[in-house]
Amino acid sequence: MITKKSTKYYLILPILAIFFGLMIFPTIFGWYLSFNEVFLSTFNHPIFNGIQNYLHVLTDRMFKKSLIFTFEFTLLTTIAELIIGLGLAILFNRRIKGKRFFISFLLLPMMVAPALIGIMYRLILNEFIGPVSYYLGKSLLVSQYVIPTVVIIDILQWSPFAFLILYAALQTIPKELYEAASIEGAGRNQKFWYITLPRIQPFILMVILIRGIDSFKSFDMINILTSGGPGSMTTTVSIYIYKLAFQSANIGKAAAASLLLLLIFSLPLTLVLRKIYKGAS
């Protein structure tokens, strides 16, 4: 029993060391960088410049533009994925022969790297040899259509995620509730609005939060498909910061922008945490 006291600390030490060394310390270092003039070539000699980086980012028209696009993208994809996922969950919530097999294929898109999906859509949407361009008779990557296109691609990859959560949620509703409602003479719509929806409401919130946050961080697929273009039409905040750091080589400014992103995130973050604390107690 004497060993117990010290053991309980050293068993958890390795994971804490990794978190501290590769996540928390770098974030603190990032704060330091954000108050300095640092370029990729001069990273050895940072020069203190106060809140200059923050001012530059906040007055940068590109930053504002990328924020607006990211909000737009997040809103559209999250809502659509929620609705489609719910529809799929209801569709699959019945006796179907070979259901497990179908579900595996439904979940496949979200298990494939978004980067690879992005590459494939470059072929599918290719102006000259892409099948979609051929059947529609136009390229979908021109400025007129590019935003709906990336939104739809994201929806096609991540609706299965909403399905996965909501399908699991539907399984938690006891069948007796529906039977009782049937006896009382409730129709299909009434059952949906008064039984299904209230019961799965916490899961719906979960989908909105997780998909909303992940969607806001979008980078892989869009960067490969459009590299944020044409112009800067599909530049998400992540792509903006990435380009700032590794194309403009302005590390200090990029660090400042990434910390502003963290600030934006702190609102949904606290919402989630409060929700979970409530659920835990």
Binding site: L22, A113, L116, I210, I251, Y277
Partner: protein, 279 residues
């Protein structure tokens, strides 16, 4: 009666048709990767698109054996990085999970800590990491990518394993404690065999997530440590776009994932929600 059962068959047939259409649309990029990888260059660029054609394996041969393609290197890098990340994550997360379940040394709800880590954008710490790795000569090394993938995936595995350890009755360990076994021995001889399914699930998920990782690899690798996700995209920026080879590379990169999806279905909800929802 007959009329009724006919109606039933018809409506269930209708559902199958709908499901097949949905699966086709959602999986279209994967289907077209497989098809394109088997077409000749002439068939790939034919207009209208060809759906029936004589399949060839030339692109696979090129990708794997022809001179000038580094795909094999990317593939091997991905395997090494994903395997060692899975291993390292389990090595640090299993003792931590056991410690949290039995002693909770940090207090509070570990779930909250873990979820909040998941929500922090990688960008926030990956830019400083780039500078730090430059100092430490870890840029463009597999070690560097293994370390970073470990940080990203550790919270999730920790949560999964906490769930599994919680299901083990404490009485099993108490018997061992009477025999004066130390904690590490208990962990190795009693806990480890009992949570093996959990370890397998966590390791497979970490493998897939690491295999699919693109953003950090794009920043932290540029020659020696490039994984398949970044490597496949490099085929495009060359002056000649070889769609057949790209499609073959993508098909090969999807195979490990396909292999795991069927096995992992049970754990996917927990994995993607950071354990916040238990099935």
């Amino acid at each position: 009666m007959i009329h009724n059962s006919f109606k039933k068959t018809l409506s269930s047939l209708f559902i199958y048709v709908i499901i097949l259409i949905i699966l086709f649309v959602f999986n279209f990029p994967i289907i077209s990767a497989v098809l394109t990888s088997l077409k000749t260059n002439a068939d790939i660029s034919s207009s209208p698109p060809k759906w029936m054609f004589k399949p060839i394996l030339t692109h696979y041969q090129n990708v794997l054996y022809a001179y000038g393609y580094n795909f094999k290197q990317f593939f091997i890098n991905s395997i090494i990085i994903s395997l060692f990340t899975s291993l390292l994550v389990i090595i640090i997360a299993l003792p931590a999970a056991y410690s949290i379940v039995r002693f909770n040394p940090l207090g509070g709800n570990p779930l909250v800590m873990v979820l909040s880590l998941r929500l922090v954008p990688i960008l926030v710490f990956v830019i400083p990491i780039f500078i730090l790795f430059k100092y430490l000569s870890l840029l463009d090394t597999k070690t560097g990518l293994i370390l970073m993938n470990t940080v990203i995936n550790a919270p999730l595995s920790l949560l999964l394993l906490v769930g599994f350890v919680q299901d083990i009755p404490e009485s099993i360990e108490e018997a061992a404690m009477i025999d004066n076994a130390n904690t590490l021995a208990i962990l190795w001889y009693i806990i480890l065999p009992l949570v093996l399914p959990g370890i397998a699930a966590a390791a497979c998920l970490v493998f897939i997530f690491t295999w699919n990782e693109y953003f950090m690899s794009l920043i932290l690798s540029f020659q020696n440590a490039i994984p398949v996700t970044v490597g496949s995209s490099l085929f495009i920026t060359a002056w000649e776009v070889k769609w057949g080879e790209i499609a073959a590379a993508i098909t090969l990169s999807i195979i490990p994932v396909l292999f795991f999806v069927f096995f992992l279905q049970k754990y996917l909800v927990r994995a993607f929600t950071g354990g916040a929802i238990k099935e």
